[in-house]
Subunit: 409 residues, 2 copies
């Protein structure tokens, strides 16, 4: 539960929750709900009540400062039906801290020492607002309520020093294992139709299917009594899915498609050159996003105009006249010529219509030709990608990278 009106503006994201989710998963705790609420007593109390109804562990992040706006303590106390007690030792320590800095303490600072009755105080080594650990037995089960500071560096320090070790000792001895299976160029609905009968056989493993622009990912998460058991369960499902999906799978250990292409190129001792028209450098940018890509990527040309297709990739103007710049012939010539010119082992050529303008009935927006060659064998495909300019370019770069991968398999 993130508390703060700034996260209800268009400009600020709740980023603490990603850190916290990772930390909770580490000790075998699943996150089922995330809520963002503003600095409003009524709203805060209402979401606190709802959370207390449904969860065994609730973390409130933020709203623990000294200002009028900081209402987490009061609201959680109300929702829990528990009193707040001011810790006078803590107030004294605050006065002392301010005095040491030769400034007088604003009165409202003292409210940071208001502690839920029965809660344990969590010292804040990087700020003034202390955290609180409250627990109770509810419906025969332990329920834990944590109040934690919002600034990420304060939150992390408190979590690592006090919260994580203590949670580990009370959390059920469960363990979570995760795996991500990434595939290239499978249609989403087909991917799901083929895999649903498999992952449904494993109801205890949570399978999430994510898709976008030529990439379908299967995120698997298993909870079990031990890490080993969870890993076993994941390995079984993952094995079945990989068998079904075959060589569309390019990674099960987190790599991006461009990283995998890089591995293959290095493994084969091969160098890649690219000639891109409609993708405008996106393939090169993706490849070079990996450190060390200079070992397998020489570079290439962004041949956005017809003149540059001729100048850098030696495409005969007559070929463009005869077939159009967006054609199978030009794509293949781009791949073949850039390979030779750059003295590379593999050449990739892409030409297409990314839109939104420039399409015709014969050659509509989304039409892209992609060619790859290693000098002995070549492949050239025609695709009609859906979506807007950005998505078409992303699809095309994905298809290009995948063709390079397949050429080397």
């Amino acid at each position: 539960m993130a508390v703060g009106s700034e996260m209800l503006t268009p400009f600020r994201q709740d980023t603490n929750s990603l850190y916290l989710t990772e930390q909770l998963n580490e000790v075998g705790i699943n996150v089922a709900f995330k809520t963002v609420v503003g600095d409003n007593r009524q709203h805060l109390t209402s979401v606190a009540r709802a959370a207390l109804e449904r969860s065994d562990l609730i973390t409130f992040i933020g709203g623990l400062g000294p200002t009028e706006d900081d209402l987490t303590r009061e609201s959680v106390a109300e929702a829990l039906g528990v009193e707040l007690k001011r810790d006078h030792d803590m107030v004294a320590a605050m006065y002392k801290r301010f005095a040491e800095r030769r400034i007088s303490m604003p009165e409202n600072n003292a409210k940071q020492a208001d502690i839920l009755k029965g809660a344990e105080v969590l010292r804040n080594s990087r700020g003034t607002a202390p955290g609180q650990w409250f627990q109770r037995v509810r419906n025969g089960k332990l329920q834990i309520v944590l109040l934690l500071p919002g600034p990420p560096h304060e939150l992390k320090a408190m979590w690592e020093r006090d919260v994580a070790p203590q949670l580990q000792s009370v959390a059920p001895p469960a363990a979570i294992a995760t795996r991500v299976i990434k595939t290239a160029m499978l249609p989403e609905s087909a991917a799901d139709a083929r895999t649903a009968p498999i992952y449904r056989k494993y109801p205890d493993i949570e399978t999430t299917v994510l898709a976008g622009q030529g990439q379908v990912e299967f995120h698997l998460q298993a909870t079990a009594a031990t890490k080993a058991e969870a890993e076993d369960a994941i390995a079984n499902l993952s094995g079945e899915l990989e068998d079904e999906l075959g060589d569309a799978v390019f990674s099960t250990t987190g790599e991006s498609l461009e990283e995998i292409v890089g591995y293959y190129l290095q493994m084969r001792g091969a160098k890649l050159a690219v000639a891109e028209s409609c993708t405008g450098g996106m393939v090169a940018e993706r490849i070079t996003s990996d450190a060390g890509s200079s070992r397998y990527f020489v570079g290439g040309a962004v041949v956005y105009s017809n003149e540059l297709k001729t100048l850098f990739a030696d495409i005969p103007p007559l070929m463009i006249e005869a077939h159009g710049a967006v054609s199978k012939e030009v794509a293949l010539a781009l791949a073949e010529n850039i390979r030779e010119i750059c003295n590379a082992n593999i050449g990739l050529g892409i030409t297409g219509i990314a839109g939104p303008g420039g399409g015709s009935e014969e050659k509509p927006v989304g039409l892209v030709y992609i060619a790859v060659t290693n000098g002995r064998k070549h492949e050239v495909v025609e695709r009609r990608f859906p979506g807007d300019r950005e998505r078409i370019r992303r699809w095309a770069s994905q298809q290009g990278l995948d063709m390079v991968r397949r050429l080397m398999m």
Copy 2:
């Protein structure tokens, strides 16, 4: 309300909510709660019930696809106590769409046509899952429930075409005005130190300063009784900030830096060519992300290896030997030669060390040389950018684009 188990992992953030908040503010609607919930029927129904208790407008984003995991329709129907009806015309249209692409439609696709009884269907121009607009009178007030698709490009298209106009007609007549002032290559701390005395004079305007990789943005938001009043307040503060920031400001109306560079190039009737080493195509990719960039961008070369610097940008091997590939001399020669070779008006050259490897004491990671020329005057700068590989490349591309902008001012 964002629906999707992937957003309860440490890997995915709910980014749609920022866009949606901005859009809702536009029509004078404040966001009071944001919730993320997984693809779990019981959880979804429970948060839907809570939301229906407390809000006048509830948007459910995601979970409308064809897979087993997509449970938003069923859960919202249950929470509302309203039936789902399958729209058979819509199913027929889906079959047709699949047939046109010569693929057979998976059966489970049809569930996307399940509509809340009484809801209006919102057509999805960029995908298959339609949205839904459901409204009812509850406690004497209008309550609106929207089901919208999760993929951002589908969500945006649907919002702009159907949802925004319809909301405008039912929303209360409070008004919010916003403006974003974007600057290039200002240090963040200096930007804030210079502007804080100004925006603090306007306590009624919420000012958020966002910074990243060579771009500092000032997001202003004013709420007033009328749109005109809110706009006036914004205009005053914006004017003062623009005076202070001078020509570091490149946009106050939403454009990206690459769009602004495109405007300038078109205005001057000039064409740009680029030769990129460490940015690996990122500048070309950014420029060509704008439709119509073929009018002012001819292309260029990704000269990742020394050989390609010579081959495509005519850099003498002796110059590389004498000064190193990462040097002022090579950057300037890249800009000058690519301009001439490509017959462009303006040439941009970038060479640097993006890391994490490849640095030395003399030439550390982050060192980048960037040069720009129009044939009469040129500029070349040396920068040491902070951060990791991705950030250094982003900084460098930003600096390059900003230098092209300034050359044309």
